[in-house]
Symmetry: D3
Subunit: 138 residues, 6 copies
């Protein structure tokens, strides 16, 4: 049960429909998933978050599949059931195979394990890591 | 200040030195970072975790740089200062450029934002996500 | 399914009934929500936590609605489904409108985003923030 | 130590200076805090996040002080040292007194306690909470 | 709904069956719980994680019940529904009584409360804690 | 740097001194650690939290050392530096040896790993766990 009512296309005011139309056109699909129908109860958040997702998840220095894998990694760590379902579906659509999913989960789980060991022992940062040089593109 | 004393190579018992030697040989470096020196106070954990890191982070269905990016994403979300420094250094060594770092952080931050919106509104999972078919490799 | 059995009023020992009675009298309602029925399996925790909730959530330097909004913000960040439902209901009962909910969620989501950016880049605290003077009431 | 170099005004490219100028003009101050200098290493993130902060934290259905209190509550729960310092300073500047800070921390701590009890016992959501009616403004 | 299909014994390849057999033999039970059936979709993770659980949870300097209580404490804090059910069942099988569960939850909830107070106020670590001497066994 | 000023004994009002005196008497020490000096800026929180710590951490169905181990496990998972130092010191004072610390950290790290695997794959809870019978004491 959602905390607010989901806004369906036919009940949506024009500024919400405009975002729904852009979501469907950008993603080349004919439906809008529940996340956006929930955000639509507060139209400025809907418009702002969609614009942000569209910009940040576009191809850039990182390819779209890598971005989805990172998204899934965060969603596992934060325990977001909705996001896990939506972003593993997106990752599969962009080419994630089952062995890739298996390795992704293994890395996420390992990082959660070693994060706690570094925190638990309060391991001091090595000076050598502090001086690792950044790398320019190209 | 660490919760336990760091174990230096010269003070280490043979089973710890064997792990340190394998770390340096595998990574082709001549030093061991503090994480392992802290774990060395409990040799079975040192051996087990190193074996796990060596296995999970090796090239596979995902390439080593992608695995480091995922590691950084988890470390940001868990707020692990040590891991952030060690794994951004590792990611840079494996080819992460500054624009890639910028996009990585943007995706991590966005996912943390949308995770909270999906959780906050308790958005129900769309049936269509549940039926997304897995994809075989090749 | 709960991890323990919920204790109904009619099955409750006297010290549990006394807390249930105080909850209903304080809140001017004729029912007790499941949280307390679960805590009742360990009566000292029931009494202690109810006393704490009653004290901390009472009007003070912050008004009761502001306290509920803060409670919801924490519950979103911790992903507590029960708490989200109980405290958005409480906030609505104390005057939270739908636009207020929309802005609350937007602030919570934004803070989760910028928290990760500050952590991810390990941004050093500005000296000026450290010297911000506290403000006396009145 | 930050993960990236902070970008000072005098070294900043024009699109970064434009954001810095807008931050100072909007906040009526003559300096820019480190958060923005870190984000400036990736100018699109700087511009996007500043625009978002400016929009979301503006007065609306919730007043600016309430928004800062919510920001602090999230930053405590996420353990973001930088954000704690910057947003308690902002909250004090907007009128948060020491008794208000004391009550804020008490509510945040209590919510973290009761969140874990509700989660730990897997308390089922009461049907009555699911049917709490939303409230229209005015 | 799981993100991957659960692998039943009769459909499992030999290396998966070998792990299932070892789980049942080690635990002296005639069934395998869903966690392992999910991990089985990526056999190297199944083998590695089972080996780790078998080693770490074995009797040692800490007894098996204490280890289960610690496991439950982490699972509450991370909000892992599956782990809560599996590890409270395991703790009960190893001797956890209802009053022990009640006290465990009270300590977990209290620690979550005081953790946020220490973080929220950014309390500096006392020098005396830094010099607490480690204690040798025996 | 703390968010509030620490209140020293000689500057404390009578109701704060009374709590400090009780802390020192209960713990049979002649000093008060910084946590309480920070809480003292809001005396009702100081009194309430101390009373809670004194009650919850007292011997009961669980012994005091087990309670400290659970406290450390939560503090690692929440990444609370202060709490890690104060509660590992307390655990050592109550008998935690270095091998016990090593096993504690191994269990905490393992639980963080398997929690993420159960969450990441959204493993459904086995019916058998739901029907595990509670165990009466004695």
């Amino acid at each position: 049960m959602a905390i607010t009512q989901l806004v369906e296309y036919e009940d949506a005011p024009p500024e919400v429909r405009a975002v729904y139309d852009d979501i469907m056109a950008t993603r080349k699909v004919d439906w809008v998933n529940n996340m956006w129908k929930a955000l639509a109860h507060h139209p400025p958040t809907l418009a702002r978050v969609w614009s942000e997702v569209k910009t940040v998840m576009a191809p850039g220095a990182l390819d779209p599949l890598t971005k989805e894998l990172v998204y899934v990694a965060v969603s596992v760590t934060n325990n977001c059931e909705y996001c896990l379902h939506s972003h593993t579906a997106a990752a599969r659509a962009k080419g994630m195979t089952e062995p890739m999913l298996g390795e992704l989960m293994a890395v996420v789980a390992l990082a959660n394990q070693t994060n706690r060991l570094a925190i638990g022992y309060q391991v001091p940062v090595d000076e050598r890591f502090r001086s690792a040089p950044p790398r320019s593109p190209g």
